[in-house]
């Protein structure tokens, strides 16, 4: 369960409109910027804290390029004697990393598509169509959204086996897409609640049908929220663990995190390989983070924590 942070996507009336958002900046510039020595001490302290906080990433970066002998001789904090790619290459091949990347990308894109389309339809009916019992439907989706996966996973595993969906991307993608659509419905419905109704009424008078209104008016206007949702659903889907652990077992279907985490057991006596595996797992999401940082930190704020 997660909430929105941005006022424009918030349902609650207690948050300010974007006008309040822009206010803080212009005032300040002239007066308050007195930088005493103390302020540099504070910034240095926080800087050190952040560096220490991020040091695990640095450590796996260093050690993924070492040979086992180098690691044993020089420990984990030294620079590699030479930057060798052999360990990373070896792990890459052993886990069939290319295949895993393809799987993860395919699945996550599919999940995003299904989740966003379903959420858009649901929210259109609830927020704009104001169907009867809409509050009950909203509560339903909210409830679905918090259900723990461990409470559903066994019957899903059983039913997927019965239906031939087990260990296949299709069933899995649909399942995760539906799961996320509940959150998307809740979020979009609250955005749509404040949608300018004159627009819809005007279009309606001009003879536009429900599909036209959705496609031509609602969709373009909710694009900012939708794009943030896409980014988050992609990350969530990429990072899923329990469902893919149970439902996707073959190499052809396994996702990146799962493919790598099985190495824990195999490589327990091979520190540099384990480090390389962690590095391979970290890189795609760091890249993604650098590209979509704005959406990720300013849009909704998501639990990595479902």
């Amino acid at each position: 369960m997660t909430m929105t942070t941005e006022p424009t996507t918030q349902s609650g009336p207690r948050k300010q409109a974007p006008a309040g958002h822009a206010a803080p900046k212009p005032h300040k510039k002239h007066s308050a910027r007195k930088r005493g020595a103390g302020s540099y001490a504070v910034i240095a302290a926080v800087g050190i804290f952040v560096l220490a906080f991020l040091s695990p990433f640095g450590i796996i970066l260093l050690n993924s390029f070492k040979t086992g002998a180098d690691y044993r001789a020089n420990g984990s904090l030294s620079l590699p004697e030479e930057w060798n790619w052999a360990v990373i290459g070896d792990v890459w091949e052993r886990v069939e990393f290319t295949q895993k990347l393809v799987n993860s990308i395919q699945i996550s894109l599919g999940v995003v598509l299904i989740a966003v389309v379903l959420a858009l339809f649901n929210a259109y009916a609830i927020g704009i169509g104001r169907v009867r019992r809409r509050t009950a439907f909203l509560v339903f989706f909210l409830g679905i959204n918090v259900l723990p996966q461990e409470g559903l996973v066994y019957p899903i595993y059983y039913l997927f086996k019965e239906m031939g969906l087990y260990d296949g991307k299709l069933g899995y993608t649909v399942l995760v897409g539906i799961t996320y659509s509940a959150f998307g419905t809740y979020l979009l419905a609250s955005v749509f609640a404040s949608f300018p109704r004159e627009l819809i009424e005007a279009a309606s008078l001009d003879g536009a049908g429900r599909w036209t209104i959705l496609w031509r008016i609602v969709l373009p206007m909710s694009w900012p929220t939708l794009s943030v949702m896409c980014v988050f659903f992609f990350v969530w889907s990429w990072n899923e663990f329990l469902y893919p652990l149970v439902l996707l077992i073959s190499n052809d279907n396994q996702t990146v995190p799962l493919g790598l985490s099985v190495l824990q057991g195999q490589y327990s006596s091979d520190p540099t390989s384990l480090s390389a595996a962690a590095l391979l797992g970290v890189i795609p999401m760091v890249v993604f983070f650098l590209i979509f940082q704005r959406s990720l930190t300013r849009g909704l704020t998501a639990g990595a924590v479902k």
Binding site: M1, M3, P7, K15, G20, H21, P24, K28, A32, R35, S39, V46, F53, L54, I60, G75, L77, A119, F121, N122, Y124, I126, G129, R130, V131, F137, L142, I144, V146, P148, E150, G151, L152, V153, Y154, P155, I156, Y158, L159, I178, S181, R210, F241, L242, V246, P257, S261, S268, S269, P271, L274, A277, G281, M285, V286, L296, A302, G303, A304, K306
Partner: protein, 297 residues
């Protein structure tokens, strides 16, 4: 009001149909099935045998189950309480101090850095920390390099240490969530309020406790509730870091349920465990929802 709205609201129900049907099929049906399995003895093959509340009786007498709930208490501290407190402090520091003296650029970098663990797959985070904390891992290797080999530990293999290590990793993973949420909440504050307080001689700490924290109350509430729910569901971290061990020292309910489903083929019992978690989660979420509805009027 009703008369103007009613004619317009026909014809929209069709948009709700696919989402509703699929949710029922893929989520509600399994939910009901788990509830039913929890009242049976079943190995996952053949027919489940109805046993009433036997699984629940067994559950409440099971030391592993209680251990898993005690550990969940720790997990919630690591995932909800500590990140919230630390996040409040850091958000205020970044927003009200560093941001004002040194501008938004450096604040943005710090915020992004602290948020980064949130987007890394939990399994990979577990792999990374598992490696760092391993007997031959980075921490022990550092300690040996600086001549403190007497302090080396089997960090995740020692029953007295493992849970604390899990807690520390959870804090590390989770800090970015409240931080980003709080910093965004702070945008609401009228800067004049801080300025007026400063002019009246309020210290940073006074502004923190009298202005920042009260204003962020809605965010704190959201963070505590959502992360407590997340805490009840914690699985991947435990699966990858410790496998619930050593012994049951880091066992959590979700992992306990998983073991019963897939390792011990005790589906009925696993279902009872997961039904219990589901109920708890729904109760907490329901409480939050009604409280929020009341506040919004």
């Amino acid at each position: 009001m009703k008369t103007t709205r009613h004619p317009r609201s026909t014809g929209y129900a069709v948009f709700l149909a696919p989402g509703l049907l699929l949710s029922l099929l893929f989520l509600v049906v399994p939910l009901v099935m788990t509830l039913y399995y929890s009242l049976t003895a079943w190995q996952g093959i053949g027919e489940p045998a109805f046993t009433g509340l036997d699984n629940y009786t067994r559950l409440f007498q099971d030391a592993d189950f209680w251990a898993s709930f005690r550990n969940i208490g720790f997990v919630i501290v690591g995932i909800a309480v500590v990140p919230t407190l630390l996040g409040l402090f850091l958000a205020a520091l970044l927003f009200d101090y560093i941001g004002k003296k040194h501008g938004d650029g450096v604040v943005g970098v710090f915020r992004s850095g602290l948020y980064l663990p949130q987007v890394i797959p939990v399994a990979v985070t577990g792999l990374m920390w598992g490696w760092i904390l391993a007997p031959e891992g980075a921490i022990n290797s550092v300690l040996e390099t600086v001549g403190l080999s007497s302090l080396t530990q089997n960090w995740l293999g020692d029953p007295d240490l493992a849970l604390w290590m899990v807690l520390a990793v959870l804090v590390w993973m989770q800090l970015g969530y409240p931080l980003v949420l709080f910093m965004s909440g702070l945008q609401r504050i009228d800067p004049e309020l801080y300025e007026a307080a400063s002019l009246d001689g309020a210290t940073w700490w006074q502004r923190f406790t009298r202005i920042t924290v009260p204003i962020l109350r809605p965010e704190v509430y959201v963070v505590l509730v959502t992360t407590t729910i997340a805490g009840l569901k914690v699985f991947a971290q435990i699966f990858v870091l410790t496998g619930g061990g050593p012994g049951n020292s880091t066992l959590v309910p979700a992992y306990f349920a998983y073991q019963n489903f897939f390792e011990r083929a005790d589906v009925g019992y696993g279902s009872a465990i997961s039904t219990t978690i589901t109920l708890l989660v729904l109760i907490i979420a329901g409480t939050m929802l009604t409280r929020q509805a009341r506040e919004d009027g």
